[in-house]
Symmetry: C2
Subunit: 308 residues, 2 copies
């Protein structure tokens, strides 16, 4: 991605997504058929979408994030394939709330593959029309998607909207804080009391053994550099009034670019936190208010150093 | 290709053709868009179609043999690209009689790429309708394409129809000769006087330094094992009454499978042939009559050993 912009054009994005499909089997054929027959540049798609499961992860062959719609291409020819698919579908259902649509490319003619794709296309088109009619459909716009102004206009960010930013500075802006080139992992919220805006790595990294349990809405923040540092860290925050955090977790998107994804609003769980485990933060809200970063603020903004 | 059949299904064929496209740039995107928007399984397509030129060859990105329609994808961004394209188009025109259609994927948005593809799709659809209305359109049928019965029904094979067979035995059948598993490079024609059915390699191979000049309609057949063998070969044929040959040249198709392609009817050029160069055969007709191989023949068929 060129440094001058914080998003890929649709042309660049689509090229990269298609380049990840496998041509040797029918994956590329099915995906390109669905995309070209849909012929809708307002619909974002992701190939090989990462889907977390209990023990590891799946890569879904095709995913439409605006519709929460997954497509799996069945190349399998094992006798126990159907059984395995059922388990996989149930797993899928647990994690993302829907079963994937399946395209069988194994025991089918080219005509039957086409027909399966076209049925999916019709289903997606119907879904788009339905969502548009209820105002639930936002056209895919790479330049708006990661632009804080988009969310300032909406008045809030929510985890359901899968809000993410390319840069920390954009996450700050969405919450009313205008610092160009801001690099720290956190900042004091300019409007909300006792609140930090936090951009952590929610996985083990350097001196920090953090983790995030999405299902439980629980973050653990644990210093492993030394027991002394961990003690100081826990003590500091138990005594600090800033016990509320708006969290943007540092992740990589499907193409490997860094994103700061909104995970919700968290509050320090003082009972669970301890000198051995470190701090526990519990999700208290799936949404946060946004603020215009161009407005003059009355309270001066305090920037604090937090672990990243 | 399984041994049990002499053609690929459309499913197998399409998979193999698509697998040859390059995903890293827009070649795969453009080709799959055109194929999926056309959505016509009666239309055969070839990716990376070999096109002979004066000094070497081109690989055309996409080719529709039933329509003699070529598509080139322009990824070039050189300043002198347009000039080079003009020369290439003129070359193309010389060889295949038409200019290729061009899709510019360089200085274009994804929308503009789509629009260019869709314009080509409309053009192809119009061409198909036109050809159907004049009876010039034969639906793509892999099982009929290489089936001698198809040509026996038509009463003739012509070079314009790009007739080819997967096996020597099928070429023989088309001319009325039914030998299952026939492996020789030639056979005496069962009905036409002084005529051989010939399946040569028209390029240097082993003891033979053959070549074929399509423009001049000229085959040279030259033994290079020894001067003595060459002398015997030339002498034999100058004295042999079988001076007419129906030629199926051994070639490889776009996917690397062997084909025997009908090149026309040739006659020995006795004046040009000599003990140094070997034999010269000149094309005298672009078509040959076909015969039902199930009919009982009166004259016994003589199989002759010819160079392959």
């Amino acid at each position: 991605m060129p440094k001058s912009k914080y998003y890929l054009t649709k042309k660049e994005y689509i090229k990269k997504q298609i380049a990840r499909t496998n041509k040797k089997n029918f994956e590329n054929y099915v995906i390109s058929r669905i995309i070209h027959r849909l012929d809708n540049l307002d619909l974002k798609f992701v190939t090989q979408q990462y889907v977390k499961r209990e023990d590891g992860y799946y890569l879904a062959d095709l995913y439409f994030p605006q519709l929460n719609y997954f497509i799996e291409i069945d190349e399998g020819h094992h006798l126990d394939q159907q059984e395995a698919d059922k388990i996989r579908d149930a797993d899928f259902q647990n994690v993302v709330g829907v079963s994937p649509k399946r395209v069988d490319v194994w025991n089918t003619t080219i005509k039957e593959i086409n027909d399966q794709c076209d049925q999916i296309v019709t289903e997606i088109e119907t879904l788009v029309i339905k969502r548009k009619s209820t105002g639930e459909f936002d056209s895919w716009s790479p330049e708006k998607e990661f632009n804080p102004d988009t969310w300032i206009k909406k008045g809030k960010i929510t985890t359901n909207d899968k809000v993410a930013f390319r840069r920390i500075v954009d996450g700050c802006k969405a919450l009313g804080l205008n610092y160009e080139g801001f690099q720290r992992a956190g900042a004091k919220h300019p409007y909300e009391e006792n609140t930090m805006i936090w951009f952590p790595k929610l996985y083990p990294n350097g001196a920090w053994e953090n983790f995030y349990d999405e299902e439980k809405g629980l973050i653990r923040e644990r210093n492993i550099e030394s027991e002394e540092k961990r003690f100081k860290h826990v003590t500091y925050h138990l005594n600090d009034p800033l016990k509320r955090r708006i969290v943007f977790a540092r992740v990589r998107d499907s193409l490997g670019f860094i994103l700061y994804r909104f995970r919700g609003v968290f509050e320090l769980d003082e009972d669970s936190s301890n000198y051995n485990d470190g701090l526990y933060w519990r999700k208290t809200s799936k949404e946060a208010k946004t603020y215009d970063y161009n407005k003059k603020r009355t309270p001066a903004c305090n920037i604090k150093s937090l672990n990243s």
